[in-house]
Structure formats: C-alpha cells, structure tokens
Symmetry: C2
Subunit: 188 residues, 2 copies
C-alpha cells in the first residue's frame, strides 16, 4: 500500500501553483481556458483536491481580503510541496508510463522547465525517445499478426494508436533538437 498517491489533477495543480500562486477559482479558469489539458474545471473536483493537498502539507492557502475584494483563498506551494512536485518530475520514464498513454508524460514535461530546468527537460525527451523507440516495434508487430482476424475498422483503430506513438516520437526528437539549440546559447 503506497503511503499517499497524488492524482494527475493534483500534480497539475501543484505544477501550476509553482508557477504562480492562485485561488481555486483561478485554477478553474486556467483549466477551463486551456484546451489539450483535459482537466475539469468543476468545483467538485478542484476544491476537494485543494483540501487534500493542503492536508498533506503540500500547499498552503491564505485568505486574501484586501481592498474590497471578495474573500478568496490564494494557495501556494510549501517547501514540501515543491519537493513532492520535483520528485514526480524527476521520475524516470518507464515503459509503463508509455503504455498508459501520453497524458501523464506530457503533463510532467510541461512543468519540467519551471521545476527542474531545461537541461533536465532535454534529458527527459531523450529518455522518452528511447522508450518509444523500444516500444513501437512491438506494436507494429502486433498489428501485423493480430490474434484472430479483426474487422477493418478495428485494425485501423489500432493503427491510429500506433501512429499516435510515432507522432510522439517525432515530436520528442524535434523537441530535443530545440533544446540543443537553446542550451548551446544559454549559460551552462
């Protein structure tokens, strides 16, 4: 039994709060306005999640009521929260991560520059490339010899999945090239 797991939503909130302290409503607005990060902006998800993070000492909220504003609780990371986030960002890229789908990995990556620095982001992409390059051939193999003939639509659907992974691989390669350029110019 793992001591305390944090959901993707939880990490998403930690990642955003690390960039800027925000109220629950502020988080909702971000989730609602950002396509491609499919987190719900429903209060029923966010406020309890904030409560849980605070209970675990990862964030702290203080009521802000200066100058005629409505009362709102602005949350920011605690030092432990920052450690927790970093620990997550630092996790190695495993085959399992890849199998589960791109969402978790991309969420991690999106906070990586801010949480660990660009050099680490580049290394993450490299690790991702390696896992993908090792994973994809097996998928292609599976497509070639499916257990029991499947209908055309079924086969096409699987193909779409494989191509999704291939697109991710190409993206990772291109992304790493961008980092190479950036880091060359940077202080290092």
């Amino acid at each position: 039994m793992k001591p305390q797991e944090t959901s993707l939503l939880g990490y998403a909130m930690l990642g955003i709060l690390q960039q800027q302290p925000l109220s629950g409503y502020g988080l909702r607005k971000i989730f609602a306005a950002t396509p491609l990060m499919a987190f719900s902006d429903s209060p029923g998800a966010i406020y309890p999640a904030l409560e849980r993070l605070q209970q675990r000492g990862l964030i702290r909220g203080r009521i802000q009521k200066g100058s005629g504003l409505r009362r709102r609780r602005v949350f920011k990371l605690t030092p432990q929260g920052l450690v927790h986030l970093r620990r997550w960002l630092e996790k190695p890229v495993t085959r399992e991560d890849v199998v589960r789908g791109a969402d978790g990995l991309l969420l991690r990556f999106s906070f990586m520059d801010g949480g660990l620095g660009r050099a680490h982001s580049a290394r993450f992409l490299q690790a991702l490339e390696k896992e993908l390059a090792a994973y994809i051939p097996g998928l292609r193999e599976f497509l070639k010899s499916p257990p029991g003939e499947m209908p055309l639509s079924g086969r096409l659907a699987l193909e779409s999945g494989v191509e999704g992974y291939e697109a991710l691989l190409h993206w990772a390669r291109r992304g790493r090239a961008v980092y190479r350029k950036e880091l060359r110019g940077d202080a290092l």
Copy 2:
C-alpha cells in the same frame, strides 16, 4: 439526471461480446493482451461491470460446465444490448467528443464495421475529419498567443497535443480512402 450511462469499459465489453460470446476471464485476457486499449484486466473492474450490464438487461450469461471444464459464465449480448451498442455507435461526432480526446472515438470506430457496417464507418471518418478540421485551427491559434508567457516545455507539450490531433486527421483521411476502395469492390 440521465437514466443510466454506460462507461467506456462497459461499451468495450459490449463491443467485444458482440463479436464473440466470452467469459469474464476471456475478456480479461483480451484486455491484457491488447495494447493500445488501456482497459484494466483486473477482476475488480470487469466482474462488477458485467454484473451491471446484466442487471440492465444488455447481456446475459449462462453457466457452461460441459465436459469437465471449470465452471464459467459465458456472456452474450441480448437484443437490447445490441440496440444499446448500436445507439452508441450511431451517435454523431461532436466537438465535445473531439475535445475529450481520441480514446472514446477510436473505441467506437473499432466496433463500427461489426456493429453497423463499413458504409457507416466511412461516414464516421468523414464526420470526424470535419470536426477535426474545424477544431485544429483554434488550437493553433491558441498556441500562437498563449495567455501569459509559458516555459518552453509547456509550449512544446501543447504542441504535442495539437500534433496528435493533426495525426488523427491524417489517419482519418487515409482511412476513408481505404474504405472508398473497399466499398467500390463490395456489394453495395
């Protein structure tokens, strides 16, 4: 309050059971063996789900114990179950479907040949193309003018999402071409 929603897992089971009657264990093996359909093969997910589907009259299981086999319940769709599945497959492709991600759409599509026939699969791809073509430019726009500067890794992560949609669009176009060829040769 919608009367009774069916989860993706439920539809996945209906779709598979439509192709071939199977036991809970049989479903587990399929889920475990098929990459790219990220359904858990855990009994704690499957057996309760089967129970729910049966309760709603969508499937019926009968105990099979011929010839020294261990007892096992083999499930098959009821007529209502088939209707329920078809109703789901027939749903129009909405923007919301696209926003939620490809998973649900691809699951639907993968059962479409068997549930509704190839002509319908082709039309589904056409509708999907249309939605994607309408959706993607907005994402590109969002990428161009992000609200508040974001770190490089954040921007790249979003880009990956957009490219995923673009890959899906290309796949749909190619898939439709395949159906055009197939249907030309078919009885029609």
